[in-house]
């Protein structure tokens, strides 16, 4: 790989290595999902450390005691807000499962759709 000549802007780093990619699970899609899941877990870990940093800073600055989060009792409004967000997160995560869990129904919807394609094409 040659570098850009003097005077041109920096270019972005290469993203994909030569050599292709082996597949170990039951298909390339499973490998992709695994990679996405691990990347997401890494970001959860990063967020957790940031929260820990904030707690430590707040405690060091004597703004809040170290156990403030543990002893905090959320207000009724906060409780309701958290419950809504929690359920929304779970529903977003489970959407694909809830949609496709009923196998025969999902198959019927596909069949109906394919029939529609044929109908509008005549």
């Amino acid at each position: 790989m040659t570098a850009p000549s003097s005077g041109t802007s920096r270019r972005s780093r290469p993203r994909v290595p030569k050599g292709g990619r082996p597949v170990f699970l039951d298909g390339a899609d499973s490998e992709r999902l695994l990679s996405m899941l691990l990347a997401l877990a890494a970001e959860v870990s990063v967020l957790t450390e940031e929260i820990d940093t904030l707690r430590e800073l707040l405690a060091t600055a004597a703004i809040l005691p170290p156990d403030a989060a543990e002893t905090h009792v959320p207000s009724a409004a906060a409780t309701e807000r958290r419950a809504r967000r929690r359920r929304a997160l779970i529903q977003r995560m489970l959407r694909i499962v809830l949609e496709d869990l009923d196998g025969p129904a999902a198959e019927r919807r596909r069949t109906q759709y394919q029939a529609l394609v044929r109908a509008v094409s005549r």
Binding site: R13, P17, L34, L38
Partner: protein
């Protein structure tokens, strides 16, 4: 920014980046410590007995052992996790270094232009041999050669940060345990050796080179590599650490140095990243470069297939097909004493050993493999 870095040019990690890298490091640690051992357990308790029941004998070849193991969930999940973790950690460290690559380039330039010990000699016309041109070693995009601008150090700096995570820090904060192992071995085995001129082949960032400069401060130390960004980084790094090393961009198969001009020629995890033909030519070049009585020493990943069971060979071979290490298997099958003899080294002068009191290689937690020879008097073949 985290202030704790092993040396002034070590890539800096923001708290977010450090947290991300720590996650990927711990993920690898757990995958290796808790998932990988299940493969051997399953082999012993399920897979080998099943093979014996089907064939009336144990697996006798690597392929047979691999066939018994590779469909098992323990192997599939270890491999999928290891490969996914590897790609994610490479990407994370690459992003971290890309963020600061302009600043690193400028700081390395300041060290280069500001005078100091050692030197840097690059060769823009140097052709890259196929075994490094056609592969991105370790699945790192761009391999050892990626440059994002003129005079760049990107690939070298990413290597420095990456290797410390790849090895889970087990090769030392300065990533120099291989070099220290070489020095300790030489002091014990060749206690009379007082090298005046030392050459490290395939030196990348110079992390294995500096222990030799430290051990023999009166010696003239040279580091050689194919990669310009790695050498620019290595040169600045050595100056920042107060060590005199002369870095040259050249091919270890044909270095351009005078015959008989070195007392000690070393390499560290170079051999498994060349080719069979190149290795032969590198040994011949070592013979040509050494004065009579000089020593050739190659510190390598401690895998010798002849010493392993079929199952162990199959597991040791993982990097060939899954970590962009195309020469890994072939090197571990190779008759290196024969290659040294073909290069002109007398068989009685060859050593092929492990330094059991030294540091251990991350890949299998075994002592580093040390292969080399003493140059007897007489011309090169």
């Amino acid at each position: 920014m985290y202030p704790d870095t092993p040396h002034p040019l070590f890539p800096r990690q923001s708290p977010e980046e450090a947290a991300r890298h720590a996650f990927y490091k711990d993920l690898k640690d757990l995958v290796v410590a808790e998932v990988k051992p299940r493969i051997a357990e399953h082999f012993e308790t399920l897979l080998q007995p099943a093979f014996v029941a089907a064939h009336g004998r144990e697996p006798s070849t690597t392929a047979e052992a691999g066939g018994a193991v590779s469909c098992d969930p323990s192997y599939r999940w270890y491999s999928a996790l290891a490969r996914a973790q590897h790609e994610l950690y490479v990407d994370a460290t690459a992003e971290c270094v890309e963020r600061q690559s302009e600043a690193l380039r400028e700081r390395c330039r300041e060290w280069r232009n500001g005078g100091g010990p050692g030197s840097l000699q690059l060769d823009p016309a140097l052709a890259r041999p196929d075994y490094q041109r056609d592969v991105d070693s370790h699945c790192v995009p761009g391999g050892y050669f990626a440059e994002l601008a003129e005079d760049d150090v990107y690939a070298g700096a990413r290597y420095e940060l990456g290797i410390s995570l790849y090895t889970l820090g087990r090769h030392g904060a300065m990533n120099d345990s291989k070099g220290h192992t070489g020095v300790e071995f030489l002091r014990e085995r060749f206690s009379q050796l007082a090298p005046r001129r030392i050459l490290d082949l395939g030196c990348t960032c110079g992390n294995s080179t500096l222990p030799y400069a430290e051990a023999w401060p009166q010696a003239e130390v040279h580091g050689l590599d194919l990669s310009a960004p790695a050498l620019r980084y290595a040169h600045a790094r050595a100056r920042a650490l107060g060590r005199a090393v002369h870095f040259r961009q050249a091919n270890a198969e044909a270095t351009g140095f005078e015959a008989g001009s070195f007392d000690l020629v070393v390499s560290h995890i170079l051999l498994h990243e060349v080719s069979a033909g190149a290795l032969q030519r590198i040994f011949a070049e070592c013979h040509r470069l050494l004065r009579p009585g000089g020593v050739m020493l190659h510190v390598e990943v401690p895998v010798r297939n002849a010493q392993l069971s079929p199952f162990e060979r199959f597991m040791a071979d993982w990097d060939t097909d899954n970590n962009n290490e195309p020469f890994w298997r072939a090197l571990h099958d190779m008759d290196l004493p024969a290659a040294a003899a073909s290069a002109g080294f007398a068989p009685a002068q060859v050593f092929d050993t492990q330094f059991v009191r030294g540091a251990r290689a991350f890949t299998n937690d075994r002592p580093w493999w040390l292969f080399g020879a003493v140059r007897a008097p007489g011309p090169s073949p």
